[in-house]
Subunit: 168 residues, 2 copies
DNA sequence: TTAAACTTTCAATAATTTTTGAAAGTTTAT
DNA sequence: ATAAACTTTCAAAAATTATTGAAAGTTTAA
């Protein structure tokens, strides 16, 4: 396969994966484009490459900056803003994990903790089932949380080395 | 908090989390409802409880069966179908991991492998950057895959015991 | 200060996803 | 065979989410 076709396929696959996991397709595609681009690109170039409007490009780029996945770059003597993606895949994974933990997991954990304090009749099957589910989910979520915390602080090789050795 | 209010809050939170992770909100809510219900419920009861239409309830229940999260139950002498959810949270986590791996991760891994075979000029920065990204993502995905494989086969206590011990 | 170059905003529109509900289909009992 | 009880389908409608593009805003250079 030629590079040009491969790029398109990569961008498409990344966009699809993103949308299946609750991330805007265009945002994933812009990220993919910057990830495989050796140089920083302008809004203009991104609009062109992905056939999207100026407004869409601008909003998507701001979102990606908000996710900590891309940065602005300024070139000497030029007014235009250039954008580039962190190319370190482990950093990307950690950044996504960090943001989703903060935006989505933590609010749910907060609710689950509030729900742990539900009051009712210990003899009522509905009450017992509810409490057990909340408790079990809390326990699982706690383990996920600890693992993510470790991941966020860890070097890639140490992290996977530890995990995979543990499964020997 | 009273049980009735707590149930509503749980169903709402589960629905929100689902939708943020690419799972239909109603599907997550129906799952939440069955998860905290000590008995199997009929389509009628689910429609009533969540204020959704018959068609929606039927489709959602079929989807949940497809995900391996709920099952039909037949009661002696009754025509109606009853639905109940597996209450084991570790089983649920494994089932979701298994399905998403199959439906979403594996197709992407397939594409990434095809993209590894891209041909081009080794001196071209665009080519080098593309290959490196694909290679790095492949490596990360491979580690995720191994970890998921282990998770799918493992008992909860062994799995988390191993993981958390590794991070000591 | 002016104007050109560039970025941001946001109301309107388009696209996608979800839901409805009535009709069609199926199963069971008599 | 019939009818009641129940399930499934799917075209149309509603709701949600994403995108456009022109106008407004900002920055820089002369």
């Amino acid at each position: 396969m030629e590079l040009a076709a491969a790029k398109l396929k990569f961008i498409e696959a990344w966009g699809k994966l993103g949308s299946e996991w609750g991330i805007n397709r265009t945002m994933a595609q812009v990220h993919a484009l910057l990830l495989i681009s050796p140089d920083a690109l302008t809004t203009e170039e991104i609009m062109e490459e992905l056939s999207i409007s100026r407004g869409n490009a601008n909003m998507t780029l701001r979102d990606l900056i908000g996710w900590g996945l891309i940065e602005k770059q300024h070139k000497a003597g030029e007014r235009k803003e250039y954008f580039f993606a962190d190319k370190d895949v482990w950093n990307i994974a950690r950044q996504v994990a960090k943001e989703r933990k903060k935006r989505e997991l933590e609010p749910v954990l907060k609710v689950l903790n509030e729900l742990s304090a539900v009051s009712g009749d210990e003899k009522d099957p509905a009450f017992k089932t509810f409490k057990k589910s909340v408790k079990d989910i809390n326990k699982l979520a706690g383990n996920v949380d600890k693992t993510l915390e470790t991941m966020l602080k860890a070097e890639e090789s140490w992290f996977w080395g530890s995990v995979l050795k543990a499964f020997k």
